[in-house]
């Protein structure tokens, strides 16, 4: 363990201690805001596993979020299971779906993979809108929880799980295999790495976190319908936060989530309309000026302006 990783680890542990104590001294509004930040931190960490480390840009993460949300909702409402059991089932079903779909979709590359995952999400949205058990297009009301602070800890748990996954993953055997597959799949195969199982592992881990977040989200908001949970915004925000903070790093996605969510909250308070315009403009600017993440621009020698100019020279026509 180098001093740098030790320092980062100590910093993360201190941040975690503050986060655990946070609801004791902070008001309800801030606890709610932090719960939202953790939620997106977990989604970004999840996307980072498949999109960042593996290089397979999944745009259909909301499919798993929806599976988690609806499984939790249906089991609580119709089978009267306790929340924890329903959430576990939701996560498990999301993993199962990821293994099944991953077997098909992870054979595709580039644009094809990205759009196919997006299509998978659109299909599930349509199915959920037409099945009787989901309440169809009019959605589903979950039981109302007696207290809201537990959701803070549930979301904290998932974001910690996501960050731990991001820290452990690249140092594991599977992580090395994934890195080889990302850099050159054909070469990895020559070295005896069978790509599909490793890619499915990354995809299913991503699905587990999305599914867990979906289940918590459903009980937290107490109302779900197909367009709210099968919503491409969840996937895209996760991508943008990861790119902002630095893809392929353990804490980058969480940092991106914190920055973007706070900015977003300030702008939403100013104007709900402005918030969408802001998000679109931010995506465009980020992509044009810092496609490899803000951290990469800051890290380059010779100042930010020169780094941005070099980035533009590389990719313009």
């Amino acid at each position: 363990m180098t001093p740098r990783t030790f320092g980062l680890g100590a910093l993360a542990a201190a941040a975690l201690a503050v986060a655990v104590a946070f609801p004791v001294f902070a008001g309800g509004y801030y606890v709610r805001l932090a719960t939202g930040i953790f939620m997106f931190g977990a989604l970004a960490s999840a996307w980072n596993l498949i999109g960042g480390y593996t290089g397979y840009p999944d745009f259909g993460g909301a499919a798993f979020l929806g599976i988690g949300a609806y499984t939790t909702g249906i089991l609580m409402l119709r089978a009267h299971l306790p929340f924890a059991a329903a959430l576990l089932a939701g996560g498990a079903l999301a993993v199962l779906a990821a293994v099944g779909m991953g077997t098909l979709l992870l054979r595709l590359r580039g644009h094809y993979f990205a759009i196919a995952t997006l299509g998978f999400m659109l299909v599930l949205r349509q199915v959920a809108a037409n099945l009787p058990i989901t309440g169809g297009g009019s959605g589903m009301n979950l039981p109302i929880a007696s207290a809201f602070t537990p959701f803070y800890y549930w979301m904290l748990g998932t974001v910690v799980l996501g960050a731990l996954g991001g820290a452990i993953f690249p140092r594991s055997r599977a992580g090395y295999a994934i890195a080889a597959i990302r850099e050159n799949q054909d070469a990895a195969q020559v070295l005896g790495i069978e790509p599909l199982p490793y890619k499915i592992l990354a995809y299913a881990s991503n699905a587990l976190l999305f599914g867990a977040v979906g289940g918590i989200y459903a009980y937290w908001f107490t109302f779900i319908d197909p367009p709210t949970v099968f919503n491409i915004d969840f996937s895209i925000q996760a991508v943008v936060m990861t790119l902002l903070g630095g893809p392929g790093t353990a804490l980058g996605p969480v940092a991106g989530a914190i920055i973007l969510k706070i900015l977003d909250t300030i702008l939403t308070n100013i104007s709900l309309f402005l918030h969408n315009v802001f998000f679109g403009a931010l995506v465009c600017l980020l992509i044009i000026f810092a496609p490899r993440g803000l951290a990469e621009v800051l890290r380059r020698r010779g100042g930010i302006v020169r780094a941005i100019r070099a980035e533009l020279e590389d990719s313009r026509v």
Binding site: I115, Q126, G280, I288
Partner: protein, 277 residues
């Protein structure tokens, strides 16, 4: 038996006519993807803008929807050209994730910038005329690409950007023209859609997906491929709607996409090699 034949025939006609609209949606998508190697997530937003413009020209000034198509197309060309020239061209050589996300950001901007918030609107059905326009647009685009200097420049740029530049082709301008033409055909598609289908602000994502599926089905950057892909998808959706119910069209499109990508990744009339250089 006679009754069943009638139903089957009626389905064939309906599927064919819807397929024409799908083909128009996909023409521009295919052009941008095949030539610029960009999957344009804002394509559905262009379709949506075209649909609304047609609707407003009809509602406010009583312009016949079919007559307003050239106007709508010109307006979207004027929007598409600068977007490509001054925004997308900045990152066109970066990885696909970059251009992909940039067009998504544009999609968000267009959709939230559009202040025309109104509910579903249904105009009278004139699907036969719609189909005729769709085929005419496809033929015109095909002629443009194969018989004109501009078309040669576009195809030359697609097959080898550096060689095209050495021949004196202004790449940035050609890219922007291509994108503008694609936006214009999207506007026509939107205008046609507004004649037969409900239009609403959130329609864009579904039509972007349709565009993608039709391209994958027919083959990338190919005008006949877009026509064939559109018609096949329209027919499949109409026939499956007869026994699955009308609410699973995305499911059918998705199944088609997965099957074609696994069985014949280049598409039915695919000439991926020609357009990738």
């Amino acid at each position: 038996m006679i009754f069943n034949t009638d139903v089957a025939l009626q389905n064939a006609v309906n599927g064919l006519l819807i397929g024409g609209t799908y083909a128009t949606v996909s023409l521009g998508f295919s052009l941008v993807w095949g030539i610029l190697n960009i999957v344009n997530l804002a394509h559905g937003a262009f379709v949506m803008l075209g649909a609304y413009e047609t609707y407003w020209l009809f509602t406010l000034y009583h312009v016949d929807p079919l007559a307003s198509l050239p106007l709508t197309a010109a307006a979207l060309f004027a929007l598409g050209y600068p977007i490509q020239r001054y925004v997308i061209n900045l990152v066109i050589r970066a990885s696909f994730l970059v251009t992909f996300l940039l067009t998504f950001g544009l999609e968000l901007l267009i959709n939230s910038g559009r202040s025309l918030l109104l509910g579903p609107v249904v105009l009278p059905l004139v699907r036969v005329a719609t189909f005729a326009v769709a085929v005419a647009v496809a033929i015109l685009l095909h002629l443009l690409l194969t018989r004109t200097r501009l078309g040669s420049a576009i195809r030359a740029t697609a097959s080898d950007q550096e060689a095209a530049r050495l021949m004196g082709i202004p790449i940035a301008h050609v890219y922007a023209l291509t994108f503008g033409i694609a936006a214009a055909t999207a506007a026509i598609a939107g205008g046609l859609i507004s004649l037969s289908f409900p239009i609403y602000p959130a329609m864009d994502a579904g039509y972007t997906f349709i565009g993608f599926v039709v391209c994958a089905l027919g083959g990338l950057g190919s005008v006949p491929g877009a026509l064939l892909g559109g018609v096949i998808l329209g027919l499949l959706q109409t026939y499956t709607a007869a026994w699955l119910g009308p609410n699973y069209d995305n499911l059918v499109a998705f199944a088609v996409l997965i099957l074609i990508l696994l069985l014949r990744p280049a598409g039915l009339l695919g000439r991926v090699q020609r357009f990738r250089g």
